[in-house]
């Protein structure tokens, strides 16, 4: 990572820009990440939002943002960003706006939009090299509608549409890889529980132009079934168990920014969430637990082989 102004947590912004008292649930991991991201991005931003929990951040006549906001629809926030960015460029070119009035174009969506319905619009925006930052808060389900299974739901998780004894039979889609395959300017995973890593990545993203993704795992007390005061702890566990690799990709190279020295067993992460309770009671589903652990081990085995750098 190049020079950063975030050397220690003491360098993190002391003031918080995003207003409080929003309609998000207590302990919302998505909001936790957004707070930190917004502190760094600042108010010279226009947030282009897709349908999801965060749509209720701005409810007439209130907004927690100091900058601008445009709600679009579930599938087309990146296309909204395209229209706004292009229009700002046209206004700049024609002298109808000054450079000082320019804004960062920021897309804000959940995983349902980012991994699924909005993927076509996203892919198009990346392939056109649109200069925008995409923030996805990934709560691993359609949160706003009650945590149904989405393309981001992990294997074995119970959701409103997978209530059976084994949970969701499919696997979480690899959005990081999908983005990286487009060769965008920047892709990074973050989590609110690792604020320094997050701050450096947002800083990094801001220094680049072109399509950039900040993909934040968003522990969701409501949808995952845990106490709101455990959000940070769960976020840390996601990293320490290796469930959520912190990494970034630039110029076709992927770097892991935090490799857990000794990974904790994934059970530590799973057993404190209601959505995985069926893997432990009434009886342990060892085969599923082993399968989940094996996939994590295989992932990190490959990473270690390459010395934390994927080719």
């Amino acid at each position: 990572m190049s020079e950063t102004r975030f050397k220690t947590v003491r360098n993190l912004p002391p003031d918080h820009l995003l207003g409080t008292g929003t309609a998000m649930c207590a302990g919302c991991g998505g909001l936790e990440a957004l707070h930190q991201i917004y502190d760094i991005l600042g108010e010279k931003t226009v947030f282009i939002n897709a349908a999801g929990c965060m749509t209720l951040l701005a409810v007439y006549p209130f907004t927690p943002f100091r900058g601008s906001w445009l709600y679009t629809a579930m599938a087309s926030a990146p296309a909204g960003a395209q229209g706004v960015r292009d229009a700002l460029d046209i206004l700049l070119e024609r002298g109808r706006m000054t450079a000082a009035e320019d804004l960062q174009t920021v897309v804000l969506t959940g995983d349902g939009a980012a991994y699924g319905m909005g993927l076509s619009a996203t892919s198009g925006a990346i392939e056109r090299g649109l200069d925008f930052l995409y923030i996805c808060y990934d709560n691993e389900g359609y949160g706003n509608t009650g945590q149904q299974t989405s393309g981001a739901t992990p294997h074995g998780a119970g959701t409103a549409t997978n209530k059976g004894a084994l949970g969701y039979p499919g696997d979480k889609k690899d959005l990081f890889a999908i983005w990286a395959a487009h060769r965008p300017a920047y892709v990074a995973t973050v989590i609110g529980a690792e604020p320094l890593d997050l701050a450096r990545k947002v800083e990094q993203a801001m220094q680049l132009t072109g399509p950039r993704l900040i993909l934040a795992l968003a522990p969701c007390p409501t949808g995952w079934g845990f106490d709101p005061d455990a959000t940070v702890q769960l976020g840390k566990l996601a990293v320490e168990t290796g469930v959520w690799p912190l990494k970034e990709s630039r110029g076709g190279k992927t770097m892991h920014t935090k490799v857990p020295k000794k990974r904790l067993p994934v059970e530590d992460y799973l057993k404190c969430q209601g959505r995985f309770a069926h893997l432990f009671v009434p009886e342990r589903k060892d085969s599923v637990l082993l399968e989940i652990q094996a996939k994590i081990d295989a992932y990190w085995g490959a990473v270690e082989c390459h010395g934390a750098v994927d080719p």
Binding site: V59, S68, T72, G83, A87, I90, E101
Partner: protein, 413 residues
């Protein structure tokens, strides 16, 4: 300058003369020629506009609304499946009060999939909040694009507008079109003034935020309706200025030989020119008939329609669309508009014709007058009449037997 232009060419010229700055695009027959024409002008430096190919019409309409709401003059075009694919965003961007112009080249909707025109696509967008202009000639297409920008951007309106033209019959038909000069157009259409809309650092702007409860929701919805209602007067005002500038006169409702007519046809779009020709023939045969054609469908020119139909005995409404299980959409609009008017109470007879580009022949117009007169005389109003000839039915039976033969042939092998 007078040129032979297709309807698509005329739409492109309208956009060029309006000096559109942004064109989000996606291809679909029979619209594609519009975006290709403008793209070529951009490539050869004749048009100072930015074109961007989106991944879908849903994205395209989102981008168009977003750009207009950021403050640049925006134009886009689609057709049929594309219009419906973007339907969610038609409603959404109209609610943003983003003023821009979308040309729809009407084409029948799947299923069955077809390329040829009717109006089910554009009428599916009837309630989305866009204003609608329905063109009958290539000249009208060019002129309507200019009128549409003026009305859309008026501070009393600030709504997007759809200019509709029929696929093939207008899109690919060359007609002589007067193309005004840039200077002339500048006198009619001032540069886009986004007023209080737009995203700027230092002046935060929250657009399209959620509302909770019906109070705020209803307020904003009512605002859109009232703005659309304002658009009728703004259209009329703009048409007067248009006539002064270019010497061509337009009305929200075109009437042809209506004054002394006993029976009046109602039609929209290019097929209305067929009705016009039929009116001439019917008049030559001694029949007092006329034609009424709404150029403006949204806002609905209710008063102008009523005025044109005062004292008429029968109205033959020829819908180039079909609402299965009801009949013609225009018929229901007219029936609703005339219901309970004491001095305007003609018998309304509903006809469905021109679906998927099916022609409507002169003899069918004659027959429609007969049926309408019979309904007037008897007071018995027939159910919607589906225009179809015996020879068409014979063709259809032939094709069915071929299709069946292929199928059973396949099974035998």
């Amino acid at each position: 300058m007078r040129e032979m232009l297709t309807g698509n060419g005329a739409a492109a010229w309208g956009a060029r003369l309006a000096e559109v700055e942004y064109l989000p695009a996606f291809p679909i027959t029979p619209q594609t020629e519009i975006i290709e024409t403008i793209a070529k002008w951009i490539d050869f430096g004749e048009c100072n506009c930015r074109i961007v190919m989106l991944d879908s019409e849903h994205s395209m309409i989102t981008a168009a609304g977003a750009a207009a709401t950021t403050g640049v003059r925006t134009f886009t075009a689609t057709s049929s499946q594309g219009l419906l694919y973007g339907m969610e965003m038609l409603y959404t961007v109209a609610g943003w009060r983003a003023p821009f112009v979308l040309v729809n080249v009407s084409r029948g909707l799947a299923s069955p999939i077809t390329l040829e025109p009717d109006h089910n696509d554009i009428l599916a967008a009837r309630d989305c909040g866009f204003l609608q202009l329905h063109c009958a000639t290539c000249q009208e297409v060019l002129d309507s694009v200019l009128l549409a920008f003026r009305v859309a951007e008026d501070p009393r309106v600030r709504l997007p507008v759809i200019v509709n033209l029929d696929g093939f019959y207008l899109s690919f038909t060359r007609e002589p079109v007067k193309v005004p000069s840039v200077q002339e157009v500048a006198g009619f259409l001032p540069p886009f003034d986004p007023q209080n809309q737009g995203f700027r650092a230092g002046t935060p702007f929250s657009q399209a935020v959620a509302v909770l409860g019906g109070t705020a929701y209803s307020y904003f919805r009512y605002q859109s309706h009232l703005a659309a209602r304002n658009a009728e007067a703004v259209f009329t005002e703009s048409a007067v200025l248009f006539n002064e500038t270019f010497g061509r006169s337009y009305q929200a409702v075109e009437t042809y030989c209506c004054d002394d007519a006993e029976v009046v046809f109602v039609m929209m779009g290019s097929f209305a020119t067929k009705a016009k020709a039929a009116v001439d023939q019917l008049r030559a045969a001694g029949q007092a008939v006329g034609l009424l054609r709404p150029l403006l469908l949204r806002p609905f020119p209710a008063e102008a329609v009523r005025r044109a139909l005062v004292g008429k005995r029968g109205v033959a409404i020829v819908d180039q669309n079909l609402s299965p299980g009801y009949g013609g959409i225009l018929h229901s609009e007219f029936a609703a508009n005339l219901y309970g008017c004491r001095d305007v109470n003609p018998v309304l007879v509903s006809f469905i014709g021109g679906l998927g580009g099916r022609d409507i022949g002169p003899e069918e117009f004659f027959e429609m007058v007969n049926i309408t007169r019979a309904a007037v005389a008897s007071g018995c109003i027939p159910p919607p009449r589906l225009l179809y000839t015996e020879s068409e039915l014979r063709d259809m039976r032939k094709w069915q037997s071929i299709a069946l033969e292929h199928r059973s042939g396949g099974e035998l092998q």
